[in-house]
Amino acid sequence: MSASAAEPLAPARRGRRIPWAIALPLAWVTIVVFCAVTANWIGLADPAAQELILRRKPPSAEFLLGTDNLGRDMLSRIIYGARTSLIVGLCAPAFGFLIGGAIGMCAGYYRGKVDLLLVGVIDVLLAFPALVLALTFTAYLGQSLFNVTLALGILSIPAAARVSRANTLAWGNRDFVLAARTIGASNWRILTREILPNLLPPMFAFWLVAMSVVIVAEGALSFLGLGIPAPQPSWGGMIADGREALDAAPHTALIPAGVMFLTVLSLNFLGDIVRNMVDPRRSAL
């Protein structure tokens, strides 16, 4: 058999290449997640080990990203800081979405007085100045990773509730919900089996965006000195430390700022892509 005859039998290769707008953000987020997860095993310097003689060194072969005001290895601190940002970024929206999502589903499904009451509660929470609430929270309950996560989680409840309520309103009107009622399905079963599966894609898209917002908020809290307590590294805290030496050693503030910028940008890009993928106009079919 000649080569040309064999060719059509070969499995058709997918000609489509992954566009840069997806590949780059995805690659960056993957790198950040990988480093944060494996931080203990990739031979990093102790992020808390101080070497005052070697303070504010610019990036070099020995210290890939230089050293900070106290002579600590910036690369190690960035990676351990990523761990902090990711824990807060993953857990806070997860907490908010669990509670907010349930509230929104109840409001959108039962409507009437339940809706009025729950939307009222959400509006009150939404009207509260976010940063003030978070500051008060950490100031009174104490600074810890858990408290910061909890505060930011509570703050993400209203947004999650609104997204889930809007989607529940739209899906709850569909005939398949009515069909489920005609077979005698309970409200719980309709909510979990009929409506929830349709809620997950838009909620996931929004979760990626919420993650980036929460990472910035954690940075802001740490920058104000009310976030993750020192010496545990966090990007916001590093920017705050580096601020003192912006003229002498700009890399101490700019590198964590740049890393945070890229991470937040990537998450936003990915969130937009996922949102487009689950666009109701396309999934309507």
Binding site: A179, I183, G184
Partner: protein, 318 residues
């Protein structure tokens, strides 16, 4: 034949929130015999779908009773109502919207069995396969697919399978072919007829297209603005309409021959009045060519004018 369903003085109203109410269905009394197909026609907004949903208590009507197999559904709540639901099923107008896009066909069709707790998984699989074959779908090829992979006609077959899997005695078909291509309509109508014969079903068949109703119904009920105009045996109604509105509807059926001159519409031009404030007396009087003063002052009752024939008009045409 005995009455399977007896609707008495049914009223459906929707509050608008500002104190006003939409009177979707007003004082409808209607019975459906076991094993027959009752066609329910009327233009958009005449209350057909509201009536259908009120039968199923989704939501329950404001007033009136729905006697199904001797039980008043409007008096049943919770578990008692749930127990009777499998016997009274519904097929919807938009076949795509009536199927959950995130679930597989096998899950959609077996859901009624799961909810009502019928059989074990093996038994359910057997029944779902049987009912899918009955509606003309190949169980193996559709099993793991999702609704968006099917055409409208196929989706309606899936919806019919879902309604049939519980072996109901009655199915309410809410414009089951309106959203389908003309070429597919006949297939679905034939399928419904087949299923009716095979499972001994009673059908309430709602449509706004008289031609469709004519082909499937034993009896026809005509609705206008929430009230019944005429209830009659199908052939008699199409041969000689007794209510002026029925006559107007029949005159509106298009002739397939382009040389036939357009007939008189038998109706005054204009839109139906608002169901927020229906006209006094006869609701059709604002568009009726025969309306006189009595029509404005006195509500015409639905009365028998011949065996198996009732009309709500002071001056019936026959």
């Amino acid at each position: 034949m005995s009455d399977l369903l007896q609707i008495t003085d049914l009223n459906v109203e929707y509050p608008l929130g500002d104190g006003r109410r939409v009177h979707a269905v007003t004082d409808v009394t209607l019975s459906i015999k076991s094993g027959e197909t009752l066609g329910l026609v009327g233009e958009s907004g005449s209350g057909k779908s509201s009536l259908a949903r009120a039968l199923l208590q989704l939501p329950p009507p404001q007033r009136g009773s729905v006697l199904f197999d001797g039980q008043d559904l409007t008096k049943l709540r919770g578990q008692a109502l749930r127990a009777i639901r499998p016997r009274l099923q519904m097929i919807f107008q938009d076949p795509i919207a009536s199927l959950n896009p995130r679930r597989k066909v096998s899950e959609i069709v077996s859901e009624p069995l799961v909810v009502t707790g019928v059989g074990d998984p093996a038994e359910r699989t057997k029944r779902v396969r049987a009912v899918l074959e009955a509606v003309g779908l190949d169980p193996d090829s559709v099993w793991n697919r999702r609704p968006h992979e099917f055409s409208g006609g196929q989706c309606q077959r899936i919806a019919i399978a879902r309604a049939l899997v519980l072996e109901p005695v009655m199915i309410v078909c809410d414009e089951p072919v309106s959203a389908l291509d003309v070429s597919i309509r006949a297939q679905i109508l034939n399928l419904l007829e087949d299923m009716k014969a095979r499972f001994g079903l009673t059908l309430l068949f709602i449509a706004h297209d008289l031609a469709v109703v004519k082909s499937v119904s034993d009896r026809v009920a005509v609705m206008y603005l929430g009230k019944l105009c005429e209830v009659s045996e199908s052939n008699a109604l199409f041969a000689k309409p007794a209510h002026p509105y029925t006559a107007a509807l029949l005159a509106a059926i298009p002739e397939p021959d382009p040389d036939v001159p357009l007939g008189d519409t038998k109706m005054k031009p204009g839109d139906p009045p608002s169901p927020l404030a229906p006209p006094s007396g006869c609701r059709f009087r604002t568009r009726c060519p025969h309306a006189v003063e009595r029509c404005a002052s006195e509500v015409p009752a639905l009365r028998a004018i011949a065996p198996g024939r009732a009309v709500a008009c002071h001056f019936p045409l026959t």
